[in-house]
């Protein structure tokens, strides 16, 4: 199975605090890898460094064997490294359709067409409708995104990341604040995404993690303490200790 992205001895420190400590991780095509760990383990910092939100302190990020360490976010998105945020980040003043369309347009081109109308890019519109359809947001296309329910806003953010035609998709706690029914829906949807992309999931809901992950990486205090399929992680003594403490 081909490796899409890997990190080599990746470090990130804030002053004296090591948030990411010598992490070597590998993400493969069509696989769903979850990153778990107690609060403050460095999960979000780790993906922030990979996706270009934060600069690395040392080490490297390789995308299809190409060094992309500290590239600006917009360039990484063009390469196919897309993400969602822990705190919903969408274009609040725009409709659901416009939110996805701008992401599709930025991927497919046409932003320099200064003399045509916004809605004139046919292939961009088509792609937007396809994604709306795929995520079940079609009926809400015209709704201003700030009027959406929280669960739908989370879904919209996933839709925007998909519009960037990702090769690897980082999802930072997509089920945060969702109802059990919504969680179940989005979990199945995330599982389905692996048909086309590599998915990296940072998640606190262990039921979701254990049911849909192919592999799990456990971080504690910035370092990987365990890696493997869900069953092995559940039985791992070190993981239990990290979560429960030395009892």
């Amino acid at each position: 199975m081909t490796t899409i992205l890997r990190t080599k001895n990746l470090h990130k420190h804030f002053g004296g605090v090591l948030a990411v400590n010598d992490v070597n991780a590998e993400f493969k095509a069509n696989r769903l890898r979850s990153i778990i760990g107690p609060n403050g383990a460095g999960k979000t910092t780790f993906i922030n460094v990979i996706t270009g939100k934060l600069p690395a302190s040392s080490g490297a990020v390789l995308f299809q064997d190409r060094d992309i360490t500290n590239s600006p976010a917009h360039r990484l998105v063009r390469l196919g490294i897309c993400r969602t945020f822990q705190i919903t980040s969408i274009f609040m003043g725009l409709t659901v359709f416009e939110n996805i369309r701008i992401a599709a347009q930025s991927e497919m081109g046409g932003s320099f067409r200064i003399l045509s109308a916004k809605h004139s890019l046919k292939s961009v519109n088509k792609k937007t409708w396809e994604i709306l359809d795929r995520l079940g947001l079609k009926d809400k296309a015209k709704v201003p995104s700030n009027n959406l329910a929280h669960g739908d806003q989370r879904l919209l953010e996933v839709a925007m990341a998909l519009a960037g035609d990702p090769k690897i998709l980082f999802l930072d706690e997509p089920t945060a604040g969702m109802s059990p029914a919504e969680t179940e829906h989005i979990a199945q949807l995330i599982k389905g995404l692996t048909e086309t992309v590599a998915v990296v999931l940072v998640e606190h809901d262990m039921d979701v993690v254990m049911s849909i992950s192919d592999e799990i990486t456990v971080l504690n205090q910035g370092s990987i303490i365990a890696e493997g399929p869900p069953k092995a992680i559940q039985d791992n003594a070190q993981v239990k200790e990290a979560y429960l403490g030395n009892a």
Binding site: T51, K53, P72, A73, H74, R75, V77, R78, C82, R83, F85, S89, I90, F91, M92, G93, L94, T95, F97, E98, R101, I102, A103, Q105, S106, E107, G110, S111, F112, R113, I114, L115, S116, A117, K118, H119, S120, L121, K122, S123, V124, N125, K126, T128, W129, E130, D133, K138, D139, A141, K142, M160, A163, G164
Partner: protein
Amino acid sequence: MNDRISETGIDKGSVHPGKIVALLILIACIALFPFVIKNRFYISLVNEMLIYGLLAMSLDVLLGYTGLLSFMHNAYLGLGAYVVGLFLIHVSPSSLWLAILAGIVVTSLIALPVGWVQVRTGGLAFALLTLAFGMMFYTIVWKWYDLTGGDDGLMGVPHPDIHVGGIVLGHSGNPTSMYLLTLCIVLICFLVTWRIMHSPFGAVLEAIRENEERASFVGINVRRYKLYGWMYACMLASISGGLFILYRGYIGPTTMSAFAGAGVLMMVLVGGMGSLWGPIIGAGIFIFIQDYISTMTEHWELFVGMVVILLVLFMPRGFVGLGDYVTRFRKE
């Protein structure tokens, strides 16, 4: 739902025919104004409204569409005006279009490095940098006596003929001719800007306004597009500067002061940002109030301030918000 995947957007983008008719009637009224009201004073007043309308509209490109606050956008009106004035004095007193072109080119060349620095920041830092650069330009213009005439201003700027394709249509020293030239140029700038802001390019600027971080995480080079927005806004401002010096034949450094800059910002807020036409109306209201009250008291700023406070409190979305209110009322 089994319907085929559509290739059309949800926004048809077509403008309601009623709006086009209303706009045409408005333009006709403004165009006929100098032939009905022959008073030079009023013609000049409306001319000034149109020039500041263009400047306020250019600030709206930054504030209303890209989400960038410029405290001293009048600096770029000033630069454009000085360049056009100096061109007419020192290079060629009769080349109207070349002078305006020189104003655009030189102002853009100055705005480019300034913008390059500014777009590295956002929010408050961006706004403060516009203030810093603006005050720098103000001081240079004020102190460089030999070139700009210092606080006496640039005087004796010649009035060239207004010619198109070799045919002389009028003289820029004639209030009515100048008025019609201003109207034509402002109208063209408005239509072109409206088109650009409603294009896929405009959609990128709006995305940056709504959420800069998300914009870069959908693959937009935020700094570069902010620079495009900035350059376009400065270019429009320099055109308003060219019209300003042609109409007045004079410019002084106070036009480029921070105080005047705040006035332009008020025009945008009073009119309602993010609409392009709102700020033009705002400029009209602002200049009317300023002019009307200054005939009664020299402390006119006090009253302009009060009017702006009332408008912000009771019409927070400006004049444009009033239009939405009427539309909603009609639907109910």
